[in-house]
Symmetry: C2
Subunit: 255 residues, 2 copies
Amino acid sequence: MPPAKPAFSAIAPEAGGMPLYRSAKRALLQQIESGAVPPGEALPSEAVLACAFGISVGTLRHAVDELVAEHILVRRQGRGTFVATHGADRFLFQFFHVERSDGLREVPAVELLSFERGRLDDEAIASSLGLKPGAPVFQFNNRLVLQGRPVVHDHITLPAALFKGLSDKRLRERPGTIYQLYQSEFGITVVRAQERARAVPCDRGSARVLGLAPGTPVMQVQRTALTFGDRPVEARVSTIHTGVHEYVHTLQRPA
Amino acid sequence: MPPAKPAFSAIAPEAGGMPLYRSAKRALLQQIESGAVPPGEALPSEAVLACAFGISVGTLRHAVDELVAEHILVRRQGRGTFVATHGADRFLFQFFHVERSDGLREVPAVELLSFERGRLDDEAIASSLGLKPGAPVFQFNNRLVLQGRPVVHDHITLPAALFKGLSDKRLRERPGTIYQLYQSEFGITVVRAQERARAVPCDRGSARVLGLAPGTPVMQVQRTALTFGDRPVEARVSTIHTGVHEYVHTLQRPA
DNA sequence: TAGTGGTCTAGACCACCTG
DNA sequence: AGGTGGTCTAGACCACTAC
């Protein structure tokens, strides 16, 4: 069954104790998650939505405000409110934190080094994805190149159940970023991620990928990428050569 | 002159093209920065403020909403709206990102290892603080201990002009976190920070502090802490032993 | 010109906290 | 009981975009 046509029905008043704007937010999220309003598409206008939900425009705006703050919706004055897409811009500012020491940022060039379908044997990855060891997964390795230098080695694990039909060909021939592929080809929108970083001596595999001597200190970042409802969809181990480039982090949003 | 009494006067309508709620936000920020409403104190009620500014309550709330999102104000239902303070809680969740691999977080025990007043000679630190090389600064070293293990070596540089009268005694005898000291003793509120991380071989100094063999891979995090208006107030180099502990980072706020 | 989101108003009632 | 912030309404006008 293809995605159902959007259906914004009146909000059930029996929602116990929950403020109306929360109910409206949940209803909007549900329609977005279900694919009834695909990424890039415009929602009905605020007036129409408020009427459909049986609430005032101000209350609806409160709900939309929160979804905009979470980068799930994007408002464009005079045009409408749109479901967010994974453009290269968003990827760069929200999910890619490596830049040159002088602050230069660019979209990395990606090379697919290996690709295989197999069964999950790493227990840490299994638990971060909420899977049992032995679950079918795709695993592949990428080399990310910035300013002509290999800087990041990514080892990525995806639950096979969520990415049916993924192949090295589709990965190689994708037009944009990996998260754009997840979204456009598999209907999976990454909305959030958690990362844990360590400094480790570079192992032989990453040393070859990055052109380093084994044992060189590198940053190892374990990322779990999450979709709506904090459901994990990707486990990634990034090995970063921080000679010329650095891992950047701003604590609290810029005003 | 001690901090002026709070003066919330009508918003100048000649503020060119700026929305009223932005003007209100600036006016609130100005009163907070100037110390007219010290950290921990309550603002006048929304009704009073709106009346003083000559705007409606809804518009005032819009301004306050943004300051709450930036952790500059805190709302407490039934009590009032307060200027944020640097409690240990806030420090832990906003500025301290080291936790044990299993997720255990705790407030670190801090030991002051050295303290001196001198002149700035590091050019990178000078530029991050917006100072000229040779400017007078305080520099000191801390060891942070978690679960009985030395985990972080901090090297901190403060502009002497902003921290007049700082001494090793006052640092050692402070009751709470360092940022609480900045706020309560020097009127400096850290609202934001930028960090750049690298993996490096541990140098001799940090190796001694952390009880490691020199050359062990460690994370080196350079932080610039900022106050209102993005003015830099602290430069810090943290050297982190990521054997048992990790550096944690969540991309985008939890819903 | 018509439709969208952006700003703003002037109320209302509720939930919570303090006295 | 009285004051606070939290929610909600039903309008208004403006700025921007598309056609």
